[in-house]
Subunit: 155 residues, 6 copies
């Protein structure tokens, strides 16, 4: 029941309701979890009992990292319970290509399905670094990187 | 530039960014502000700097209550700044009508513009009290109250 | 462990994190997925790493449609990974009844549990079409349809 | 105190709190208001008193349309009060350029500030129509339109 | 794959999409479900088809309560379908300690993992009652309770 | 109409609707605006026309910075219009105090109104640096800093 020609694995989803935590801690916890190997971390606004504007913390993890990341959630947040479930995940094959812009090189991430490119995008951190160093708008850097990629593809 | 046949007044809108407050305090502050005369109080999820899932507190107030409500915001929340602006507000003329349901009386709030009824709704607190006392679904109480109102109007 | 007298089936929930997609594409993808047989599609605001205001796309699908809908998500969005899980779903028995309003017929959707009507509502598209054609407020059309239904039920 | 070389006008912002309205009505009201000349319409999730997950409706309007749009809000929604304020708005100069894609022409919207192009984007409706008619992914159409524009600009 | 030294159980997660319900009903349903034994109840803003600003209702329940709580969701809301999945949940060991404040006693909830205290917090309802009775800011009560706890711990 | 004994100034609020921007750019723009003197920057999820999950960017600025920050918004985002209004802002008097923790010094920010301390909090960046360097939970650092401050105040 999965799309042909993509990779499939199992990931563990960890979730915790945060209805009594200083939001300052949230950004820090995101960074800590990513640094410790979380595949992704995000928050969603949640309207909790007694009219609390809380947050639902979600962490995507490799199954072998789940126990360790759960301990970090307990140590770093105010939650008393962490929920866990496994999900199947399909991912596209991806590769990297370097392109040149006026300000230096940028990697392009290229995803494909069944041999067809379905998505390409300049790597955010490469573009950000150039934008900061050369004081040009980030979107201009991204746009030029895309242009360079398209010229190369169609060349 | 205002719609004809509605009342117009000036209200003061107070706003505070809460990016370091325990969400438990939020529900309490809402109650306190309403109790002290706020016309309305609500929160909106806000994505703040350093990835903080904060809340924007908004209070609608009569201008003469603004200073007092601002002091409550400062005393009860963690904010260091409260913003304030005045807005014009138009409100519909409204009146009340009593209707009978299987479980007792309910007030219907009826709003009209230029002499035409534009909206009617059973009073939430009346319906809630009946739902709790008689252990019937709230939406059933609301529905029966609407039915009674419509029968009366068209009678 | 399921509520008596409702239908139970298994559905597949597909989810994708969108943190680098033009929001214009989102509405289009919703339409595409619904057109291709998704049972429901919705987005939720998500605060993602590096302070990105992303969206979590959720698609409810019949298990046999999951692979096809996953391919559409990959082709139409920027995501590199789609997560999948199965859930049990209980649904109420529902039937339709026609009622007449000043402006024409409207279907009422009636849901029941254990033989008792738990919910009824005028069909949105019927009411919308009347509102557009006759230039009357949508809520007035819905309200009259409800009234017609209640008169009929209690007659 | 305004950015040089952009147009400045005054717009009226209308807002209404919706804490007792069927969300089905919301999408319809957005369409109605846009059709009647609103410059923009959007909703934001709001956590209202008594734990209601309401919505804040915001309408941006030309001052001369404010009264008419306010009447529509009153007729079509459940609100009993509409708030109003004026704001200064700066807008970029914009122009249109046609480009050709594999599937037909697309307009590119080009915005500039002080004579420098700051943003360009393919027109959503043009791309959507092509995507629907030719059954190609919307993002592919948008991407090809951008490519055609860039080729033309640098030619 | 679970963190050592915490309790693990299985809970049932119930979810329903609400895209046509008066938000007034939402707060009432939360209270009803908690009163009937739900472990937690919360809402999340969801952008649904046809531009409806809906809500995703989530209920955490003991598996043996799931059928009963599902019936309440059907009776009290407008949903026609309730989804259900099981998740593993880890919870921290917790205990209570009483401390004295200027205005009376407050319980402190203390959570620990592997014998180390990872979180402590004054009980919200105790603090709220004091704040209401003595007309002092809630955060001042909470702060004094924390101070009393810390003095006691280090004494 | 202002609370006694607080400072009052005028700030400019800038807002832009972003319904066609890659969310990756958002975090970067926040940083850029803060770096260029914005008093605060935040995003709020907005449900825009054609079912776009957009964001409302809000910037709080000193009036003399408004033109410069507006230009940055135009250069760095996809918006074609920036709205502007002035608001009065009241701020509490604040001062700093140093306290010692096991891992080093932390500044405590202390706000007061009419001579009474209304809020105190350890400085986030001080605590974060310690947490990162000493690999201790951030909330433990914050908690110890509060404890040190309270011991000092009551000494």
């Amino acid at each position: 029941m999965l799309a042909a020609n993509t990779a499939t694995d199992t990931i563990t989803v960890l979730q915790a309701n945060l209805d009594d935590m200083n939001p300052q801690v949230f950004g820090y916890v995101m960074d800590r979890l990513l640094e410790e190997g979380a595949l992704d971390v995000f928050g969603m606004p949640a309207q909790m009992k007694k009219n609390r504007p809380g947050a639902l913390l979600t962490v995507l993890a490799k199954p072998e990292d789940a126990a360790r990341l759960t301990q970090i959630i307990f140590r770093e947040t105010t939650t008393l319970g962490v929920r866990q479930r496994d999900e199947r995940r399909q991912t596209l094959a991806r590769k990297w290509q370097n392109v040149n812009t006026t300000w230096g090189g940028v990697r392009i991430k290229i995803a494909s399905m069944n041999g067809t490119v379905t998505h390409y995008a300049p790597e955010y951190e490469d573009c950000r670094r150039i934008a900061v160093e050369h004081r040009v708008p980030l979107k201009e850097v991204m746009s030029e990187a895309v242009e360079a990629y398209l010229r190369g593809s169609s060349g």
